[in-house]
Amino acid sequence: MQKLTKDSVHPKIVQALLGADSHITIDDALENEMILNMGPQHPATHGVLRLLLRLDGETVIACVPELGYLHRGYEKMAENMSYLEFIPHTDRLDYISPPANNVAYALAVEKLAGITAPPRAQYIRMLLAELARMCSHLVAIGALAMDVGALTVFLWGLREREKILDFFDVICGARFTTSYTRIGGVASDVTSDTMKNIIAFIDQFEEKFDEMERLLNGNRIFVERLEGVGVISKEDAIDIGFTGPNLRASGVEFDLRRATPYLFYNEMDFKIPTYTEGDCLARYFVRADELRESAKIVRQIIDKIPNGEVMLNSPKKVLPRKTEIYTKMEELIHDFMIVNFGINPPVGEVYSAVENPKGELGFYIVSKGEGHPWKMKIRSPSFANIQAIPHLVKGQMISDVVAIVGSIDPIMGEADK
């Protein structure tokens, strides 16, 4: 953290920080108050989030988040590449849970192209999305605990996450950047051995997570640092665009898996954990409960998964199998056309949203009937969630800022796109 002077901050940011009704300049403000720069390299900002804090002593009066340090222009890039080519880029949005992004994107394009993946592929997508949710929440809880000074949970959480990443490695061929879904299915099938291993992992996970929870819930420092900090009411949470666990911690029972069911979530039996306090502790509790619910869903998926194809048979839209490309002329032509010119979905536009670990991830795609989208907008949950930080930190102590940012769980990869 560093103290800022007038020259180092853009005048418009200063104005936002001081408020429109304020007549003091930045130099005056330094008399009793201080403007402090937190990030973009601060470890507790979870990436490259920059917060400018206006402080009176240790109390935060105002806060202005500055984004764009990880802006790679994915929306511009999407307009210049085919639908298939964009799949690896979705990995880099929410880089803690790449398969969930893959699924969200594939669903949006399939809706636009008017195709549906076979049931087995959809079940596999659900399986991957739920494992990704567990991954993400383990990191979120671990990082939150680390931010407030409990390092052990972070290490234990990452140990469990490592086991899930090993499954990703077996299923997708990559631990982080999975790029697993294809338009019309998934890249490869999941073997029954892998499923058995996943069940074995879930069996031991619940026990391991009990241990982690005992470490936190019985920890007075952890609880007291989070309880009553960064409270947001139900109405404000909706108004400010909160989605996902953050919204449910404020007492709104809203989950897109239930509200607008996609894949086979309407056949799954799971609860939507909801807490009413709306503080940092409630946000932690929601994530912890969701981990258990996800484990429950994973069991049901493996129980119910049907046999069958994992890629749709639709030559104009879906990539053919590699073995057929090398032996059959038709498939070779289709593969050439899809790879070089794209899948050409009909003219139209579509907004498709799914419940990602962080909240609602939506893709808005406008097609002009060409191989590449005319426009693609990514509605990322972290972007909307970070918007609430100024509201949450107002009046809190500066040490609580770290806890609040940790409990919001922003991922700059998707906030900055």
């Binding site: 764009g68 511009k76 890039m77 108004d239 665009g241 949203a353 939506g362 918007q387």
Partner: protein, 160 residues
């Protein structure tokens, strides 16, 4: 829900022309930008509709069309579990539209992003700064005339 919505809109705004488009099971309402604020406030507060979550505000650059930009709002009603898309055409010559951030706070940053990327001015926005690009950047990257590789020299390195 779709019928109810159409009925309520027609009843409340008798003089306004709405264009309803249905595709992919979604409803899109095209309206004139002069009535945008009233319609949004109505959609949020009217009992039975209650579109309380503003998911997204973005724009489309049509490049060659007469009304070059279309501003798109995605709003969701948690009560009815229904998503609605609002569209407003904006011409390049005036390139401005009323801000809805007084109705949904969530629109604040989304509008800043649309301003940053397309250069559309949102009138009466409380804090219309650029979202991602530096404040002294002169271009709007998502406009179709902006090259994919960027314009060399437009992003200065920070002073030592």
């Amino acid at each position: 829900m779709k019928e109810l919505l159409k009925e309520k809109l027609a009843k409340q705004f008798t003089t306004v022309q709405f264009e309803f488009i249905e595709q992919y099971d979604e409803l899109t309402v095209k309206l004139d930008k002069s009535v945008l604020l009233n319609v949004c406030a109505f959609l949020k507060d009217e009992e039975g509709l209650e579109f309380n979550l503003c998911e997204d505000v973005t724009a489309i650059d049509w490049a060659t069309r007469k009304n070059r930009f279309t501003v798109v709002y995605h709003i969701f009603s948690m009560e009815n579990k229904f998503r609605l898309c609002l569209k407003v055409d904006v011409d390049e010559s005036e390139c401005s539209v009323e801000s809805v951030s007084s109705i949904w706070k969530a629109a604040n940053w989304a509008e800043r992003e649309a301003y940053d990327m397309y250069g559309i001015i949102f009138l009466n926005h409380p804090d219309l700064r650029r979202m991602y690009m530096p404040e002294d950047f002169e271009y709007h990257p998502l406009r179709k005339e902006f090259p994919l590789m960027g314009i060399p020299g437009t992003l200065p390195l920070p002073k030592k």
